[in-house]
């Protein structure tokens, strides 16, 4: 069931379109991640949802009913937002976490156990009496999350809540946050530009770019079946080639690309003009000339060592980029000039019908 729905929302400022959404819905109980680069309109979207910003056009529906502008206080109190920066107020950690409950007129004796429990849940119970200004970055963000969750919001809005933390703390807090939100069955609208963060928590992902919604789907759908080249590029599908379906049958399409052919799981008819997307981690490199069925030959042109993985550019008559784990790279020596076998399974090849061309995407 849709908890929140935006229809035909447009936000324009100083002649620029910041957000243009025909529709977006957040279902009850889901973690809905809005993923997009900086400047995509993600924060604007959250402000519109929280009724802190009035859109130039469009409506916000809550459980089917239109929310007026200005929104009544009771509506705004159904949700709360956590920002990238903790934005703690002066006073102690306890006072910060208690702030929203005090706004709601909660009595001190009822409020204290809730605040204490939430502080313990976020592992900062021992910091309750400490001045908020003395907390570390990670502790402060835990306090900010506790301050929001102690209100038991019907919708939790998260605006890049972990982006300012270092990688180790971010991963730990992400796991804890995911567990707390799931166990509390809290509906969450989570915006981030971090792909890994999005896939770690999302039930559904919306891809937002330049204020426009490019795709909504499960992580699996968005990852393996991007709706267009912009989504594919944003999700680091390094291999996007132009091609044409030359033969089709039995659910397999043969696609001619400059310098060779690839097979893909698709029902597109011959003659379809397509973009061929292959994720770099789906490409298997084998030593020497390809022996595996369907393998093609190529020459490594450059290698980028990324620590746990190596990124190899391979010339197969057409360019491909492969991502190889360090362990796998022990068996396939990767240096510029090395001949390798290249295997791409048809399931790993996603075809997008080029705009203006007939047919449907697979």
């Amino acid at each position: 069931m849709s908890l929140l729905r935006l229809d035909d929302v447009l936000v324009r400022k100083e002649g620029r379109t910041l957000l243009d959404l025909p529709s977006l819905d957040v279902r009850e109980g889901e973690i809905h991640v809005v993923l997009g680069p900086t400047g995509a309109g993600k924060s604007t979207l959250l402000r519109v949802v929280n009724r802190l910003e009035r859109p130039s056009r469009g409506s916000v529906r809550w459980r089917g009913g239109i929310v007026p502008w200005p929104a009544p206080l009771e509506f705004r109190r159904r949700m709360t937002m956590v920002f990238q920066s903790p934005l703690l107020f002066s006073g102690t950690t306890f006072e910060n976490v208690a702030y929203g409950l005090r706004l709601r007129g909660e009595r001190e004796e009822a409020l204290a156990p809730k605040v204490d429990a939430m502080l313990r849940l976020f592992r900062i119970g021992h910091l309750a009496g400490q001045r908020a200004s003395t907390l570390s970055g990670g502790e402060a963000q835990r306090a900010a999350l506790a301050r929001a969750l102690v209100l038991r919001p019907e919708l939790l809005l998260l605006d890049e809540p972990l982006a300012a933390l270092d990688a180790r703390i971010r991963e730990r807090l992400l796991r804890e946050l995911r567990q707390i939100v799931r166990e509390g069955r809290i509906t969450c609208l989570y915006v981030t530009h971090e792909q890994a963060e999005a896939f770690a928590v999302a039930d559904r992902i919306s891809i937002l770019s330049e204020g426009r919604l490019l795709q909504v789907g499960t992580p699996e759908e968005v990852f393996y079946r991007p709706s267009g080249p912009a989504v594919a590029e944003f999700l680091q599908t390094s291999n996007i080639l132009t091609g044409e379906v030359v033969a089709a049958g039995g659910g397999i399409a043969k696609v001619r690309i400059p310098g060779g052919t690839l097979s893909a799981l698709s029902d597109l008819p011959p003659g379809s003009q397509v973009l061929v997307c292959v994720r770099p981690e789906e490409i298997l490199l084998t030593p020497g000339a390809g022996t595996a069925a369907g393998a093609i030959e190529g020459t490594v042109t450059s290698v980028l060592d990324q620590g746990s993985t190596l990124k190899a550019d391979v010339d197969c008559g057409f360019p491909l980029t492969a991502l190889v784990t360090r362990r796998a790279a022990r068996e396939v020596p990767l240096r510029a000039g090395t001949r390798v076998g290249v295997s791409v399974s048809p399931e790993a090849v996603h075809l997008i019908v080029k705009e203006g061309a007939a047919g449907s995407q697979t």
């Binding site: 107020f89 002066s90 706004l103 908020a132």
Partner: protein, 227 residues
Amino acid sequence: MTGIDEALGALLAMRQELLGILGLSLLVSGAAIVAAMAIGVPAGIFLGLHDFPGRRFLVTVVNTGMGLPPVVVGLVVFLLLARAGPLGGLELLYTPSAMIVAQVIIATPLVVGITLAAVQALDPRVHLQILSLGASRRQYWWKLVQEARLSLVAALAAGFGSIVSEVGAVMMVGGNIKGQTRVMTTAIVLETRQGNFTLAIALGVLLLALALALNWLFTSVQQRSKG
């Protein structure tokens, strides 16, 4: 030492009158700063939060008002309250009320200006965060006051300092009447004119001590509430 002995002697000799002058100084400037804060803080928050046609002009007026010459304020209030003036019927001229009015006009722009700067200096997301946690309009304003309180104490100190030490306006609209409108600064002017330099210096030292004590109090409050 003779000079100091003389000064102390003079102060003791007029201690009854001196207590009256000191009390009136505190009463007039205290009432004026309370009124200036009551007007200036909400006005500063409003100007800091809202954009509307004419806002820039108002901010310019406030900034100009922060450096308003007290003697000009005194002249304007005098003309307004004079018997033939538009508010002459109130018969406030040469009363402590007239002095309070003049001092409110001097202190309010300072309070508005400092409050405005304090509100604008807050991270814009703090405003969204307060509202997002479910604050009503009134709760939101109160939280802004709490978050900007260090600057507001500075506004209080600056405003009070400017009026307790000014002489031009209170002299013009109060008239320096003994036992009625004489305050510390006008008493110093009078004693200097009469050649009682020892007493004038003693009163000056007393005024400085008063300013120091009050600012010590303000600073203590400010630093205790830090963080």
